[in-house]
Each structure stands twice: as structure tokens, then as C-alpha cells.
């Protein structure tokens, strides 16, 4: 299957490990990622300033994606996935908004059809590829390792617009981690937010949200922490040391994107998965 990819802002400008690992793992499952030109921000940070301008940005990216004439679009960032899904839902159900956006897009020569299925890494792998197919491709099962998974917020809520997993009891990411031979755990902080949206306005609170979750998870004695969103990843990986200072403790938890974990199980070289860019990763603990 060919899938257009909307990378958003955080991934192609800084969270390179996610982009690298995505580009590495999907071809193993006969999924070809197709880039397209001219994408802009999804509108996430614009929403607080002007909701309809944010909606225009999301719709614009959907319109660009349909120009590839592919029917499937991968959106690996949780926030972008929320913004694009919401725009699609709103435009489909709100005639006034649809007309307004069509007018705006026309100025750039774009047309909005809405004929694109929006995927995230979690459902593309879990629902389309399937855990059996993943299990069959695994060359080096990650036996004996136990991970806490963090699906994030905006990928599972609000369910009324169609999200990738249950809003209150998500378990697809667990199933994906188990498919590569590792274990996961059910833990009470699983739905806690990473705090990224507050990082630049309320830094202490944001870091403290990330820190308290990691502290709890570390207390459960896991070998690592798995996420699928560039924002969450910044909080738990790059900002882990700062987060530790807000919760009065030492944090030493390997944080990986799921696609990196999958890549390890497929025996893809660590450097190709961008694992050298993970600030918190401790390869010696992974017996690689």
C-alpha cells in the first residue's frame, strides 16, 4: 500500500528519530511512504489564536494530500492527527465552515474533497498491518523486556470525531509492544498527559506533569517507556532530566518511539532508527 505522509512541524524540524524510524520500518510491511510538497503547520498552535484559521491550515494539508491521488494519509504526530481529523469531521458536518474553507483554499488553487483516510502509526500498524504480521516479521524478539506505554491524549480523544483507540482504556499500543516479544503493564498513570502544551507558558507545571508520570513508571521497575508523539517524546526524553528536578528524584528511563522499538526487533541498525538521538536511551540495558 502507498500512503501519503503529513509530517507536521515538530517531526521534520527536530524529532528526526521518529521520521527516520518511520521511514525504516514501514517498507518492511509493504507500506510505501509518499512525501508531498508544500505542507504547512496543522494549526495546532494557531487554534488558541483563531480557531477558523487553524481549521483552514488543517484543511489545506488534507487538500494537498489528496493531490497525491492516494487515499490514505499517515499523520504520525498526535496533535496533527487531532487537528486534521477534527477539520475533516467539522467540514463534513458544517456546511458554513465547508464553504468558507473552500473559498480560502481556492485562492491557492486547492480543492478540498475530504476523500482521504487519516491514519496514525498506532492504527496503521495495529488495524491495517496487524499484530500477527508484525510478529511474523520480528527477527529479534525483545524477550524479557517490560515497557510502560504512553498513547498520549489527542490520539484517543475526543472519540466523537473517531480516534485510533479507546478514550478511557486504550490497549493497541500495548498489543504492538507485545507483538515484538516484550511485555507491557497496566498502570494507573497511563492516561496522564505529558504536559507539552504547557511547556512554553507554564514550564514548571509542564515538567512536573512529565516528571511525575516517569517517576511512577520508574517505580514499577520497567525497562523503558514507549510513546508515539513528538510532543510527548520531547517531554519524556529530551526534557527528562529537567522533569526529574521538579519531582525531586533521579529519573533514568529509556524512552523510545514505538517505531524505534519495532525497528530493533526487525534488526535494523540503531543509527538508522535515530536511537543515537534519544537522550534517555541506555542501550546497555537492552542487551542488543
Amino acid at each position: 500500500m502507498k500512503v501519503a505522509v503529513y509530517w507536521g512541524c515538530k517531526i521534520p524540524t527536530a524529532q528526526y528519530a521518529y521520521e527516520m524510524s518511520l521511514r525504516e520500518v514501514f517498507p518492511h510491511f509493504d507500506i510505501e511512504l509518499v512525501d508531498f510538497k508544500g505542507a504547512s503547520c496543522c494549526g495546532g498552535p494557531v487554534r488558541s489564536i483563531n480557531v477558523s484559521a487553524a481549521m483552514y491550515l488543517s484543511a489545506r494539508n488534507l487538500a494537498l494530500a489528496t493531490q497525491t491521488s492516494l487515499e490514505d494519509l499517515l499523520v504520525p504526530c498526535n496533535e496533527c492527527h487531532f487537528m486534521l481529523s477534527e477539520a475533516k469531521h467539522r467540514i463534513a458536518n458544517d456546511e458554513e465552515m465547508r464553504r468558507k474553507i473552500e473559498e480560502e483554499l481556492k485562492e491557492e488553487g486547492l480543492t478540498y474533497s475530504g476523500n482521504v483516510k487519516i491514519w496514525h502509526v498506532i492504527d496503521l500498524l495495529h488495524d491495517f498491518v496487524g499484530t500477527d504480521a508484525i510478529r511474523a516479521k520480528v527477527k529479534k524478539p525483545l524477550k524479557g523486556l517490560r515497557f510502560a506505554v504512553h498513547p498520549g491524549c489527542q490520539i484517543i480523544r475526543p472519540s466523537e470525531i473517531g480516534r485510533v483507540d479507546s478514550a478511557e482504556n486504550p490497549n493497541k499500543l500495548d498489543a504492538l509492544v507485545e507483538a515484538v516479544g516484550a511485555e507491557t503493564l497496566d498502570y494507573s498513570e497511563k492516561l496522564d498527559c505529558c504536559g507539552a502544551a504547557l511547556l512554553y507558558s507554564h514550564e514548571d507545571a509542564a515538567l512536573s506533569l512529565a516528571g511525575s508520570k516517569l517517576k511512577a513508571v520508574q517505580g514499577y521497575g520497567v525497562d523503558g517507556f514507549v510513546d508515539t508523539c513528538p510532543y510527548c517524546h520531547i517531554m519524556y526524553d529530551a526534557r527528562q532530566k529537567d522533569a526529574a528536578t521538579t519531582v525531586g528524584g533521579k529519573l533514568s528511563l529509556s524512552v523510545l518511539y514505538y517505531t524505534q522499538l519495532l525497528g530493533l526487533a526487525l534488526e535494523i541498525e540503531q543509527e538508522k532508527l535515530g536511537l543515537h538521538l534519544n537522550q534517555s536511551f541506555k542501550p546497555e540495558k537492552f542487551n542488543l
Binding site: P12, S40, C41, S48, I49, V51, N93, C153, R157, G195
Partner: protein, 168 residues
């Protein structure tokens, strides 16, 4: 000063309440019966004392001026739990976003990060500039060095349209 203090000093303005309702789609704060399910699960309750049910009550009571100029509307972490869990589809999240939009229109103080993102979008289409990052052992890496394809930015036509959309 708490939100309640703000209320005791002000007169409610029901027209402004309507102004917030007009900005919402399939969300109606008027349906809120103060069950506080939003607040009990709010990510920003413990650290920043955000109480979504109070925001909804203030809006419904017409204290929009007071809440728009309060910093509390910028404390939401956008975790969407209140939107998901509200039994009345009153979604405090959407109300908070509508209040932020109104705060921007009125040029009340807003966190700089949002304006920076908009300025950056007007420059490259993206909310952040492409960065050189450091590996765990402090080596610098950029897209090229990591073997990632070149960026394909939006052109000037986009910028002109976005500017117009923002203004309108």
C-alpha cells in the same frame, strides 16, 4: 485574586455570553449542570488550579470580560479529557479555546509562544525552524547528515492566503 473575587466586583453581561456561544460548534456550555466531572479529571487542576466547571459557570453567568482577561484560560493542557467526559456535551475545552480567541482579538496579554508560532508559520509554513540537534554523545546532526530528504516548504502564495485568513 480568585475567579470568585472577579465576579463579586463585576456586573454580568449576557451579550458577551452569547458571543462565546456563537463561536462554538455542537458544544453548548448552557447545558452544564456543574457535575464537575471535567474538573475532577483536569490535567491542570492540581498544579495550576484550573477548574473547567468554574470557567463554564462564569461564561454562563455572563462574566466573560473577567474570565477573558484572567491568565487561567492559558493553563489548559489540551488533554481533551473534559471534552470526552462531559455528559452534557458542554466541552469546557472548546469554551476555553473560544475565550482565548476572544482574548487575542481584544489584545489582552497572551503567551508569547503562540504569536511566535504564527510568525514562524508566515515565514516557512511550519511553526518551528529546522534545527540541528545533538546526539546523546553531543555530536551535531541535521537532516542531511541523517540522510533525510530535503524540506519542501510551502510557497509565498500560501503565506499571502494565510495572512488574509488570519486577519479575517
Amino acid at each position: 485574586m480568585s475567579l470568585i473575587d472577579l465576579m463579586t466586583m463585576a456586573k454580568p453581561n449576557k451579550e458577551l455570553h452569547k458571543k462565546i456561544l456563537d463561536r462554538l460548534w455542537r458544544v453548548n456550555p448552557d447545558e452544564c449542570f456543574q457535575c464537575m466531572r471535567c474538573t475532577s479529571g483536569c490535567t491542570s487542576l492540581k498544579l495550576l488550579e484550573l477548574k473547567p466547571h468554574e470557567i463554564t459557570l462564569l461564561v454562563n453567568s455572563g462574566f466573560v470580560d473577567e474570565i477573558v482577561s484572567s491568565d487561567i484560560i492559558w493553563a489548559c493542557a489540551s488533554c481533551l479529557k473534559c471534552k470526552e467526559r462531559c455528559p452534557q456535551k458542554a466541552s469546557p475545552y472548546d469554551t476555553i479555546i473560544a475565550l482565548r480567541n476572544l482574548a487575542v482579538e481584544r489584545e489582552v496579554k497572551i503567551p508569547e509562544v503562540y504569536m511566535k508560532a504564527v510568525a514562524q508559520i508566515l515565514e516557512t509554513g511550519l511553526s518551528q525552524q529546522v534545527q540541528t540537534v545533538a546526539s546523546r554523545d553531543m555530536q551535531p546532526f541535521n537532516r542531511e547528515k541523517l540522510g533525510l530528504p530535503e524540506m519542501q516548504y510551502a510557497d509565498d502564495r500560501f503565506k499571502a492566503v494565510f495572512m488574509k485568513v488570519l486577519g479575517g
